[in-house]
């Protein structure tokens, strides 16, 4: 009678131990980033490094703004990510609805075209874009970053939204159409409100994807004042010194709002990220 009980307790202890190791491993890099950003500049190059600092300061956060003008890059990032998000939803919703609800010829082919475009490596897209954008004076503009971002966010958005619309009951809009609504009215009055959570989730995922985008932002912007936050941070290191504290503080500022949003909406985001594939 005692042996199985001991075994159960051991199993439970093993589980908790594994879970703890797992969580520590997950959290430690992020913990270290935040810790570094809060260090006193005088302690940053102490050797050996302190795993728990003896004093804290917000100096690196003020350096991020006074020395590196992070506010400029934050504004650029917000504009680009918002622009990409709005454009993505405007393009994705009609397409997702059509793929979910309407029968038309070569539907599968067009869906595959969109999926395929998602697979292409950015490196094979960015060079002609750079050359053409230079001719069109789109280098160092917001549009010059918003437009390419859409190629990354759009296929994923269509996929997620379609999976969401697929789950909505068909009879409501059919009833509305029988009652004399046009298809357009049925979509606006019935599908749109029902799909709101799905649209919202897709929008958040698109925003975060555009916010994190690196290669386009690195190559299609040559003027410092037009850089987005990720690229700006990558330009912090000088020729001889790497300002770890400044970079950590800037990184914390760039990620904390996003992490906060993600934590707040985690349930929806998880279902958005997994819906297409699990159902697939």
């Amino acid at each position: 009678m005692n042996a199985p009980k001991a075994k159960r307790i051991a199993a439970k202890a093993g589980y908790i131990l594994l879970l703890t190791v797992f969580i520590v491993m997950m959290v430690f890099p992020f913990y270290w980033l935040v810790l570094t950003s809060l260090k006193d500049p005088r302690d940053i190059s102490l050797m050996p490094t302190e795993l728990w600092p003896s004093r804290f300061s917000l100096k690196f956060f003020s350096y991020a703004f006074t020395e590196h003008h992070l506010e400029v890059y934050l504004l650029n990032s917000v504009i680009v990510a918002l622009g990409a998000m709005v454009l993505t939803i405007l393009f994705a919703f009609p397409a997702a609805y059509a793929f979910s609800r309407i029968r038309f010829r070569f539907k599968k082919f067009w869906r595959n075209v969109i999926l395929l475009a998602n697979m292409f490596p950015i490196i094979a897209v960015v060079t002609p874009m750079f050359i053409i954008f230079r001719k069109m004076h789109l280098i160092n503009t917001y549009w010059g970053l918003i437009i390419p971002s859409v190629i990354i966010t759009l296929p994923m958005a269509i996929w997620t939204l379609q999976a969401f619309i697929d789950t909505l009951p068909k009879d409501l809009e059919e009833a509305a159409q029988i009652d004399g609504c046009s298809r357009f009215q049925a979509v606006i009055r019935i599908i749109f409100p029902l799909a709101a959570p799905g649209i919202f989730t897709t929008a958040i995922i698109a925003f975060i994807t555009a916010w994190n985008e690196f290669m386009f932002a690195l190559i299609l912007v040559t003027k410092d004042s037009m850089r987005t936050v990720p690229v700006a941070i990558s330009m912090f290191p000088g020729q001889y010194t790497v300002p770890w504290g400044d970079m950590a503080a800037a990184s914390v500022i760039a990620t904390v709002p996003i992490v906060f949003v993600v934590l707040l909406l985690q349930k929806w985001i998880v279902s958005g990220l997994t819906s297409g594939a699990v159902k697939g």
């Binding site: 397409a95 067009w110 969109i114 292409f120 759009l154 990558s234």
Partner: protein
């Protein structure tokens, strides 16, 4: 009968009108540039020498394939893809099983923690890991020295350890996605299967291999193909941690293409390299769409 046909026509028109913006956008900013890159790949085209631009046939490809550095970056890409995928699958499975076994509250907490790396920009993760493994200022060496190891190991100056840091950073960023996908899959497996297996006397390990794995086959396939392509397309992590070094030991196909294009300003050669990558990805994509298509038809 007449009405039926007109309805079909109307549906066709509506369908095409609704997908038109998305399809046109994808063609204009995704597919057309790839075709232009393809055409550049047959040209002598250097930014420093634009007047001299001319058609050279397969010259760029011959130069790339004839250079031993191509085979080295190809090998690096394969090593990176295999090791990172193995690590991500291992961590992803552990994470998914931990979340699946947890109570509701604990599952929510773990799921929340697991989402954080997904939301952090790759370049920031790159610097986080560069800092963690910094030989003088990073905590990894300090912790290792507490455990009796070397306190001054220079991670980023040796090929194998530099590759390890890159793989670790990528795994940390990517495995949450795998864990979430696998968890979603786990939750669709009916509990009765495990119960009846337990009655038949199957242990936990046996039921993992006979029930869990077969039921997750579809999702595992998608995850594997996704991650293969992710490994080929990785850029910001390598850019931030090693810049391809030391001595190109962490440079991948894509990183080499970037260097041809934007360090050497050699658009012809860089485009040829980009086209090679596109072709590799295309081959994998076709496989992927086939598998997905089969699953959708059931």
């Amino acid at each position: 009968m007449k009405k039926h046909i007109s309805r079909e026509k109307r549906d066709n028109l509506t369908g095409y009108l609704l997908i038109a913006p998305a399809v046109l956008a994808v063609i204009a900013i995704g597919i057309v540039p790839v075709i232009i890159t393809f055409s550049y790949s047959f040209e002598y085209y250097q930014l420093t020498d634009p007047k001299n631009r001319h058609f050279v046939g397969l010259q760029n490809y011959i130069e790339i394939l004839g250079n031993s550095s191509f085979w080295m970056v190809l090998k690096n890409t394969a090593i990176f893809a295999v090791i990172s995928m193995a690590l991500e699958l291992l961590l992803g499975f552990t994470g998914a099983l931990l979340m699946n076994g947890a109570g509701k509250a604990a599952r929510g907490a773990v799921r929340t923690i697991v989402l954080i790396p997904w939301a952090v920009p790759g370049i920031i993760i790159a610097y986080m890991f560069q800092f963690l493994f910094n030989n003088q200022l990073g905590p990894v060496n300090v912790i290792l020295s507490h455990l009796g190891g070397s306190a001054d190991f220079s991670w980023l100056t040796k090929p194998w350890s530099a590759m390890f840091v890159v793989v670790a950073a990528d795994a940390w960023k990517q495995f949450p996605y795998i864990a979430l996908m696998l968890l979603a899959g786990l939750q669709t497996i009916p509990q009765e299967l495990y119960e009846s297996a337990a009655i038949d006397g199957a242990g936990k390990i046996k039921s993992f291999f006979h029930i869990t794995l077969p039921n997750l086959k579809g999702i595992l396939l998608i995850v594997l193909l996704f991650r293969t392509m992710g490994a080929i397309r990785i850029f910001d992590i390598i850019f931030g941690i090693t810049g391809g070094g030391p001595a190109s030991s962490t440079s991948t196909l894509l990183y080499q293409a970037y260097k041809y294009l934007f360090t050497d300003m050699n658009y012809g050669k860089g485009s040829a390299m980009s086209t090679i990558i596109t072709l590799i990805i295309l081959a994998i994509s076709i496989l992927y769409i086939r598998v997905l298509g089969k699953r959708a038809e059931e």
